[in-house]
Assembly symmetry: none
Homo-oligomer: 425 residues x 2
Amino acid sequence: MQCEVVAVGTELLLGQIVDTNSSWIGEQLALAGIDSHFQTKVGDNLARMTAALEQALDRSDAVIVCGGLGPTPDDITREAIAAVMGVELHRDDAVVERIRAMFYRRDREMPANNLQQADVPEGARVMDVQPGTAPGLICPLRRGAGAAGAADGAARVIYAVPGVPWEMKRMVSECVLPDLQSRAVQRHVIRSRTLRTWGHSESGLAELLEPEMRRLDATGAATIAFLASGMEGLKVRITAKAPDDETALGVLSAVESRARAVIGEAVFGTDDDTMESVVLDLMRSGGLTLGLAESVTGGLISARLTEVPGASDVLRGAVVPYDRAVKTGVLGAPDVYAVSSEMAQAMAAGACRVLGADVGLSTTGAAGPESHEGAEPGTVWIGLHLDGEGEAVRVRFNMARVMVRQLGTITALNLLRTRLLAREG
Amino acid sequence: MQCEVVAVGTELLLGQIVDTNSSWIGEQLALAGIDSHFQTKVGDNLARMTAALEQALDRSDAVIVCGGLGPTPDDITREAIAAVMGVELHRDDAVVERIRAMFYRRDREMPANNLQQADVPEGARVMDVQPGTAPGLICPLRRGAGAAGAADGAARVIYAVPGVPWEMKRMVSECVLPDLQSRAVQRHVIRSRTLRTWGHSESGLAELLEPEMRRLDATGAATIAFLASGMEGLKVRITAKAPDDETALGVLSAVESRARAVIGEAVFGTDDDTMESVVLDLMRSGGLTLGLAESVTGGLISARLTEVPGASDVLRGAVVPYDRAVKTGVLGAPDVYAVSSEMAQAMAAGACRVLGADVGLSTTGAAGPESHEGAEPGTVWIGLHLDGEGEAVRVRFNMARVMVRQLGTITALNLLRTRLLAREG
């Protein structure tokens, strides 16, 4: 089973948007054990879109076309698919009603333009999952002229999904991949597991894992790759290819446990775990509540924690004392140097007191590009108030403002995590 | 003159790396007035790379192939180009010496693997600019079978550049683009401008701009495209193609002013302007300071504003009263229903008082997936306290939690923006 990706949009060719959708789809296809040998970007042009689809169908069994399903005149993916299928479009009344209902729930009339989103090529099926106004399409077709990799006259399929990432991701996960897998004859599976880490550098991790990587190179059972992901930490991805799930998962578990033995506590979770969810779970199981006082991170820790549904069990709230007077006034911090251990600790203790929390976590520093109260850009003090004790640690990130804030955020949460683990014993 | 991009690397197809190189090259080609209609990603496989190059040459005058020039066995771009040209590789002694000298300057011996980087297809020319060990190649060839868009038997050219971004960028800027432009007979430039908007739906904008889009369709002077970008708002991109910069910029300005006339105040900026920077500038010019009280957005507005260097001129700070007791205790809000106009206004007034700010902005609501105090997920109340007056507006986003928070953030900032504009008169 081979599946290509065609990303549609002139803005992709002009470099105004980076095509991250194809990358994400490519990753999902690999994880599902479906080969993907080509990915193409093409502009909003009917002739060229049709040509790109025709060609992908000559080479592969399936094509996922991403983008061009919106309500504006440059959204012509529906027309291109109909041309390739050699059919007409018809307006699907059920889809019209679905879209109208979405506008209705937002207290708005459906603009007439949105009607074109309900146009479906004859013989295509609308996906059940429809997070936005663009319906996803499953378009089966039979090709006379097959090419290498697929038998002549074999069934082919085009999946059309919108370019809006969160809509696309739900449709690919819940509709496209299951449909593709049901069509696949020969199966092998590719499974991967990501160890989420914080505390080692990328080269440090590579050094720790070198013996294991050499071992895997020799056996070919799995591969290890590293991915620095800003606020998401440093990812270590283990990938195994095997005839079946059970074998692949067995390899993954063996490699994971050897990797954990050398990386240690820097592994904060796996796969979709986030530092935020892990910290919230640890706090919840300890019966603790959290208060934040964020200066240099400016609300980023709070914004990340509250992204997790149910964060309100743990998080009492946050104060962002961007102005010095708020540090002293609201949080009751002493009138000391703002980028200091003393200030970080006073802010953490103040967050506990003012917000009525068991644990206080704080940040203060200089995000850059300018220095702040004499502190060099990239300096971050993290304060923690836990079980009536205060402490503060200093880190330095010699990077751009956005990265200083991101790495300050994950480092602060990681400090809290390691202290909670030590407390549990 | 048409030029395609072929990005080489199995890791690109697997989504382990996002292909930002093609996006950057696409942007440079557009700025240089060179059309680029297709971009392809292909893995490290000789047959498929050759097929991708052959096909690109059938459609276009030139191809930039990016990646696969390294010293390891999976780097086979040189072989693929030689196959397409129908020639052999020969080892270029001058390149061997250049690479050896690079290692020498770093006090290292050249590993034997690097010798393969000096293999050059017969008839190809090595680029003068070589920032790393991979030489860039200019490979002219003559095709018997030309396709649409290029005369039969016309000259074609393949440029090979490494996948390392900083090496690639220097070669493209200093060698590839000048060479391409010297081959182009007819010259034109492509310039674009993005109107940043918030307040209309995508289809609503399309309806407002329909007459202008029809006008442009008829003249061909420019195109208009829409792009929903979450917290970044809804982008309207105008693209003009003209013989020279001056003409293109004239067209852009004319279209922009007609578009602004119909979209009105929903345009908050252009190109790299952000809602945050625009609001901070308006506040600064009004000599006003800001305090935030964020419940449903959980610190996201504060995190966004403090991403902008110099935000501390305006932002006094924020309180995230995630727990009800913090709303009443710290902010002094009355003990009312949390998702209400009254609570939103009390929070905004409380933010002013507690943080010592001139203007207070607040959010309270239900981000989902669960309802909150009886309010449906997606409900957001925004409170504003300005010049001693309070107001609150309600919006509903029938979307995932992450989008509710993002759209709540930009909507709150936009409310503040429109009130500041009205105040200025």
